[in-house]
Symmetry: C2
Subunit: 194 residues, 2 copies
């Protein structure tokens, strides 16, 4: 498979302009960002294999790009069969676009200090959904395919791997966590790359 | 040696703001960029070793960062003993800051289709010089140390590894070239990195 990294460069250029022009307006960021991310995940021919690598022990969060002013980052989530997140929040706006396979997101609300499950939503290739403290920020996500790797592309309004946020144990309460990233190196997609 | 990548993140944040605010004004870019680059190369404790790797066959150009809108990039030039560039131009503004060792830059002017050598300038750690089509764009550069690796940090007004520019053979004429970059992977300096 050809790795058409031009698609990612185009997306990063669009997002870079967007965070400058939107000036923190979350509605503008989510609406315009969604159209850009839909175009990116409409084709599965651009993600270098280093960023598509699964790990049998846990789902992977590979950083693809972080804005130096921390206004957005792009991360590939790579799910092995059976892998899932804890119940967690983000504390910033986010967009999730399905690239390969499928995932299921289950929304949660806190009631009397305990997370209570709401709707589930299945995301198939090409689809994009939003998260944010306004539109619903607590969820749990898992690979919808029990026989293959699934990959979704996430965009957040900050350096998500450095943000202090929370997980919500089923028995109640919450714990702070900082996710970091799974990857210590990133492909160089600049210069004379395709 | 501790790798204090925070210095590079701070520099990228400053440059990212600068290219937004300068709106293409080369004087502003060079003057403010110079103060930021001087602060970056004032300490030699932040360059991850992947970006400091020399190659016995030729000098290395490791991309550290490229702006998605192609308004600036940051490159580490790593010189082995005896290594030098051809006579070349850049076609865009640039800043060169010496991090480790020393280098010598020899300015050239084209006269009757041939490159004629002018002044030479030695760059020592902490020093920053400018290049641009306005202030002088043709030069040849080499490692000033014949017994050790030298490293300079370059900032250019574009994705320099993708820009079509020129080399000038001593016998006259010019050839177009695109330099690319030496590195296929880049360290991830985001998330919970120091
Ligand atoms: Fe999430
Ligand atoms: Fe040069
Ligand atoms: Mg480019």
């Amino acid at each position: 498979m050809t790795t058409n990294t031009k698609r990612l460069r185009t997306f990063l250029s669009q997002m870079s302009r967007l965070v400058e022009e939107a000036d923190g307006n979350e509605h503008v960021l989510l609406e315009r960002g969604k159209t850009y991310l839909e175009a990116l995940v409409a084709h599965d021919d651009w993600l270098p294999e280093e960023w598509a690598a699964a790990n049998p022990d846990r789902y992977q969060q590979h950083l693809l790009y972080c804005d130096p002013q921390d206004r957005f980052c792009v991360v590939s989530f790579v799910w092995g069969p059976g892998q899932q997140t804890p119940i967690h929040n983000h504390t910033t706006w986010g967009l999730v676009g399905m690239l390969r396979g499928a995932e299921i997101s289950e929304a949660y609300e806190m009631q009397d200090g305990k997370p209570v499950a709401g709707e589930t939503e299945r995301l198939d290739p090409g689809q994009v959904v939003m998260v944010s403290p306004d539109v619903g920020d607590i969820h749990k996500v898992w690979n919808a395919c029990d026989d293959r790797v699934s990959i979704s592309i996430h965009v957040y309004g900050g350096d998500i791997g450095a943000i202090e946020r929370n997980v919500f144990p089923p028995e109640g309460g919450m714990k702070s966590f900082i996710s970091g990233y799974s990857n210590s190196v990133m492909p160089n997609i600049w210069g004379t790359q395709a």
